[in-house]
């Protein structure tokens, strides 16, 4: 057998990010203090270069593999990666000012962000169970460290600890599930698993067990009920820039993970995972929306709101399998991808707004801190309004179309009652989003310090929020991108 040289070019974006992470780590250890400002530039440059490389290396031909088929680059990789880069790019801009003010802007921070980005990238290109695990661990470990990055702060340390312990438990679950699946199929390669025509009678149960653990692990990474307990504490405890990162890009990576494993790998065994996802999704939508109402901390509220949005993503994944109807499956999965993208962008805007209001010694993380924003800055009050309306799913903001697309798929699959429940819960959820708008517009501010955010934050945040309104008026472009990614990849 001739030894074939793997196609490194296809993995160029990942290689760039890995190299940049190494450079930053080295710099963190040896570079002089006055070079510090270059850390940010290196990180952003790496993200931009990776974006360009992704655009040029993937997409044509539609599906490419390398390293003997354990890496797979297709349109889903392309679309998901692009929005992951966008999220990280925005997260770095939004967070920089916050970090500088608190003396946290160090090379290690950027190194860790890039390492977690590398993990996310691997999740989008993996085609092999071990590789998935590798990507997941890389992403998670970097994130644990980021949460606890401000280590002298008790709340941060506690959050990091909780996240780490529970994450380790989830990793254990996933690893256990993977080993059971390996036991049942005798392979770790995703295409091979999906092509195992029929399992032996005894193996089927083993495989189902494995799947259950895998679904639990995926649900943990998403932060879905009942594996959601870490979400509120970690979102609350982590420094806001980290929360911002945590709430956006990893959700897209988790989507890629779930989609690759469940839909690509285990489509034939959908009767096992479909009801599991469904129950997790419905529980997330219900509990997320209800618990968010009781929150007084803005970050915790957004954490629970995120749980409910994750419920929608999982719901879309769950309803894709309808007795082999290819068109319905396509619709459901493209709606889910659309939702995941929209949610990531909305998360960026919402946490970005918190960062905008925050300054040294003032985290702007309580609901009361939003009061009277309209008097301080009518423009950003309007941005807040757009973001909250979009999160709530008010028509003609993009969040509405995301919900609509998923609910259409749910109805098409015949789960009318689930759709009704989801709508009712969204309606209840609208309360806490609108409360934020009400506080910003109709309440007197508790303090009168002006906003001091950097100009690039202001510009990007405005663009970010306006995009929610703009895509709400013209959702077609983004929707067809998601749909095309699905058609090209499935």
């Amino acid at each position: 057998m001739a030894l074939e040289l793997p196609n490194f070019a296809l993995l160029a974006p990942q290689i760039v990010i890995a190299l940049a992470a190494l450079v930053l780590m080295t710099a963190g250890a040896f570079a002089r203090e006055r070079w510090r400002q270059w850390n940010y530039v290196v990180a952003q440059l790496a993200v931009i270069v990776a974006t360009l490389l992704t655009v040029f290396t993937s997409g044509d031909p539609r599906v490419q593999t390398t390293f003997g088929g354990i890496f797979l680059v297709d349109w889903i990789t392309l679309v998901v990666q692009l929005f992951i880069y966008l999220s990280v790019f925005a997260a770095l801009i939004y967070g920089r000012f916050y970090l500088i003010e608190r003396g946290l802007e160090r090379a290690e921070y950027y190194a860790l962000v890039l390492l977690s980005l590398l993990g996310m990238q691997i999740l989008t290109v993996a085609n092999h169970l071990l590789l998935f695990y590798l990507g997941l661990e890389l992403m998670s470990l970097a994130l644990y460290a980021l949460v606890a990055f401000d280590r002298n702060h008790a709340l941060r340390a506690e959050a990091g600890m909780k996240y780490f312990v529970l994450g380790a438990l989830a990793s254990g679950l996933i690893l256990y599930g993977l080993s059971l699946i390996y036991g049942a199929t005798a392979t770790l390669s995703l295409p091979e698993i999906s092509s195992v025509a029929a399992l032996r009678p005894g193996d089927e149960r083993v495989f189902g067990f494995g799947l259950a653990f895998l679904v639990a692990g995926i649900a943990f990474k998403f932060g879905a009920v009942p594996f959601h307990m870490w979400v509120a504490d970690v979102y609350h405890g982590a420094p806001t820039p980290v929360t911002l990162l945590l709430a956006s890009a990893p959700k897209l990576a988790a989507f890629a993970l779930a989609f690759r494993l469940l839909v690509f790998g285990f489509f034939e065994y959908a009767h096992y995972w479909q009801p599991m996802l469904m129950v997790v999704a419905v529980a997330s939508i219900v509990l997320g929306n209800l618990a968010a109402i009781a929150q007084k901390n803005l970050k915790r509220m957004l954490a629970y709101s995120g749980i409910s949005h994750v419920g929608f993503i999982l719901l879309g994944l769950a309803v894709g399998v309808v007795e082999g109807n290819h068109q319905l499956a396509l619709n459901a999965y493209s709606a889910t991808l659309f939702y995941a993208i929209v949610y990531a962008v909305m998360s960026l805007a919402s946490f970005g707004l918190i960062l905008l209001m925050a300054r040294s010694g003032f985290e702007a993380e309580w609901l009361d801190d939003v009061k009277g924003l309209n008097q301080k800055s009518p423009w950003f009050a309007a941005m807040l309004l757009i973001t909250m309306f979009s999160l709530a799913g008010v028509p003609f903001f993009v969040g509405f179309f995301a919900k609509l697309a998923v609910l259409q798929a749910v109805v098409a699959a015949g789960y009318l009652w689930v759709a009704v429940l989801a709508v009712v819960m969204s309606l209840i959820g609208a309360f806490y989003y609108l409360r934020v708008v009400k506080l910003a517009y109709f309440d007197e501010p508790t303090e009168r310090q002006p906003l001091i955010a950097s100009s690039e934050t202001r510009v990007l945040l405005s663009g970010n929020a306006l995009a929610l309104a703009l895509f709400g008026l013209m959702p077609q472009g983004l929707m067809s991108l998601a749909a095309y990614a699905m058609i090209a990849s499935l």
Partner: protein, 665 residues
């Protein structure tokens, strides 16, 4: 060409936006120049389109697709054909005249720029209405003109009567719109489209169907529902009550909106829907009877009015009734023909009345006028032309259209035609009487102006320019050029347009393929064609026909009462006081509505508020559910203990639940 079509409605819209947003900054002159330019462009483009359509180029297509839902397409589109272009010409021409006239009429008003913005906006809305090729846009235009009408009736918003009147117009129109929406809904439900052409293609199929819930014949239900919409907009009995009150608005808009264009939207709509209406005799009978009732009984009310604008307003009601009668008699083209001639001579009459009002310093009471002809020669002449056209004097435009209606009704076969024929014939007499009563009271007889008006309290009016009147000894003056020029320009078509266009519009196939008449069953238009031997012959024959003598009798009686024996009317009124009381109370329609509908609605509203809203919805549902949600939320938050082992336990529990599914499937 599509660009030109687009220019027609949007040029006035641009004018309206500029005048509305920046009018006060631009100043008055710039504002009226911009808006007049917009309407002028629309008019010139309409003329160009007219010649294009005349050469046989019609258009039907979408401009912009707004959305698609469940197979139903929502579009903005244009249908350009002979009917559309006729309406476009009428609307833009009258609007242009009114724009110019307004410069003079509103000269001293603080809301000058706002007014121009509104009337330009109205022109845009009305053009969108008539140019539409689908029901959705029709409804948009319908509501938009209603909105502008509301805004303009209440233009002097500090006057309680104006606010009352515009609210009334708004509410009464809601009743009509409810029917209209039902009609559109039925079409959307059963034809599955909102496009005119596609609906008409299915008309025969719709005619065989019954409405699923009630079992009514579908086409009749659709037509009557649509016509109820027309009744609201075109002020047919019993939804006419808002139109006389709408005279609270400034006179130019009374001419433009409440005489020439908007109120004819209902007539236009029914003519546009002729392929549907032709299939339902029941609906046509309904139209005929409503129209005839309006034509006669509203005309009578014109006799007892003393406010000059109200006379013209009731005359408008009556004339709208005539148009409706023509529709009911399946003579759609005649209705449109009368709509057009009426637009000119009624706008003329209103603007003349406005000119008189300017001269009288905003005193509108005819009892304070008299002998004005020598002070206002241009106004007098043009008003006289308008009056002659209105009563149908042979060779004027009003003659051709009204006489055609009379002949059409005489040949109508459907139930109610005899009643309608009596009403429109008697209406001729009534029209002649009240019209010349107005002419004689205002322009002839003894000069009664300049006397002290004891009942007017000037101090209470403040800046209000209503009911000032002339000071004792002051003489009225002819209005400025910007007022009289539009009068003259409108007087020309009022006199001539009928004779020149009757052949083409009614018989020459101008409306072929646009207005559909089932001549085998509804023969009035065919009979009309048979009797027609050219405009000149028709005019000469008119001099010897019955309606002419009836009208002459009306004029003679008016002359006798108001010139020869001015004391008689009061004595007659005193003699038949019961009749007079009914008439001055407008047949008690307003009182009835006030007590039954307004009062009933208030009582129902109060009941729903107390029981439905406060107890059930607020008490049980809103607060109740909110309380439950709140409690659940607290409980959910309490799950979040902060302890790591609780969290881990919850995950293990979750795994257990998921594993449970392995046994369930």
């Amino acid at each position: 060409m599509k660009l030109l079509y687009t220019v027609v409605p949007f040029a006035p819209l641009v004018g309206a936006i500029v005048a509305g947003l920046w009018g006060n900054r631009l100043g008055r002159t710039a504002t009226h120049r911009i808006t007049i330019l917009g309407v002028l462009i629309a008019f010139l483009a309409s003329v160009a389109i007219f010649f294009d359509v005349h050469n046989g180029n019609t258009f039907n297509g979408p401009l912009y697709t707004w959305g698609t839902s469940d197979g139903l397409t929502f579009e903005v589109g244009f249908l350009i054909d002979s009917l559309t272009v006729t309406m476009m010409l009428v609307v833009t021409f009258v609007s242009l005249m009114v724009h110019i006239y307004t410069i003079g009429y509103m000269a001293d008003d603080p809301g000058y720029c706002r007014f121009f913005s509104y009337i330009s906006l109205f022109t845009f809305s009305m053009l969108m209405l008539v140019m539409s090729n689908n029901f959705l846009q029709l409804f948009f235009g319908w509501e938009a003109v209603g909105l502008v009408s509301y805004l303009l009736i209440g233009f002097w918003y500090t006057r309680p009567t104006a606010i009352y009147a515009n609210l009334k117009a708004f509410l009464v129109n809601r009743v009509g719109d409810f029917g209209f929406l039902l009609g559109i809904g039925l079409i959307a439900a059963y034809a599955g489209t909102l496009d005119y052409a596609e609906t008409f293609a299915q008309a025969e199929k719709l005619a065989t169907m019954n409405e699923a819930v009630t079992g009514w014949p579908l086409i009749t239900a659709i037509c009557i529902a649509l016509f109820i919409g027309a009744m609201g907009k075109s002020a047919q009995v019993p939804l006419h009550v808002w139109l006389p009150d709408s005279m609270e608005g400034p006179t130019p808009i009374s001419a433009l909106i409440h005489a020439a264009t908007m109120v004819t939207a209902g007539i236009f709509m029914v003519a546009r829907m002729s392929p549907l209406f032709e299939l339902s005799d029941t609906a046509l009978s309904f139209v005929l009877v409503i129209g005839a009732t309006t034509a006669f009984f509203m005309g009578i009310l014109g006799i007892v009015q003393s406010d000059i604008k109200r006379v013209v307003a009731y005359s408008t009601l009556s004339q709208l009734g005539y148009m409706t009668v023509a529709l009911g008699a399946s003579a759609y083209s005649v209705a449109i023909f009368h709509l057009m001639t009426h637009a000119f001579f009624k706008a003329l009459l209103f603007l003349s009345a406005g000119s008189v009002i300017i001269a009288m310093h905003h005193d509108q009471d005819m009892r304070n006028m008299g002998g004005l002809w020598k002070y206002l020669p241009v106004t007098w002449l043009t008003a006289l032309i308008g009056a002659l056209a209105l009563i149908g004097t042979p060779f004027t435009s009003g003659f051709y259209s009204k006489d055609s209606i009379l002949i059409a009704v005489a040949h109508a076969q459907i139930p109610g035609a005899t009643y309608a024929y009596f009403c429109v014939m008697a209406g001729v007499f009534v029209t002649a009487f009240y019209t010349f009563r107005m002419i004689f009271l205002v322009f002839h007889g003894k000069e009664r102006f300049g006397q002290a008006h004891a009942h007017h309290d000037h101090a209470a009016h403040g800046s209000d320019d209503h009911h000032h009147g002339l000071a004792p000894g002051e003489k009225p003056h002819e209005s400025p050029k910007v007022v009289t020029v539009p009068l003259v320009l409108l007087a020309i078509p009022s006199l001539l347009i009928g004779a020149f266009t009757i052949d083409a519009m009614l018989f020459g196939g101008w409306f072929a393929n646009v207005i559909f008449v089932d001549e085998a069953r509804h023969g009035s238009i065919a009979a009309l064609r048979e009797e027609f031997h050219g405009a000149l012959a028709m005019g000469l024959h008119g001099l010897t026909s019955l309606p002419f003598f009836i009208a002459l009798a009306g004029v003679a009686l008016a002359a006798f009462f108001y010139l020869v024996r001015p004391d008689l009317p009061d004595r007659i009124a005193a003699r038949v006081r019961w009749l007079y009381t009914i008439l001055v109370n407008h047949y008690y329609f307003d009182r009835f509505n006030e007590i039954v509908f307004a009062g009933g609605a208030r009582r129902l509203g109060r009941w729903l508020w107390q029981i439905g809203d406060r107890t059930v919805i607020d008490g049980a549902m809103v607060n109740g559910s909110a309380q439950i949600v709140g409690e659940v939320a607290e409980a959910g938050a309490a799950l979040q203990s902060g302890r790591l082992y609780h969290y881990a336990f919850s995950m293990i529990l979750g795994i257990a639940v998921l594993l449970l599914f392995l046994y369930l499937v």
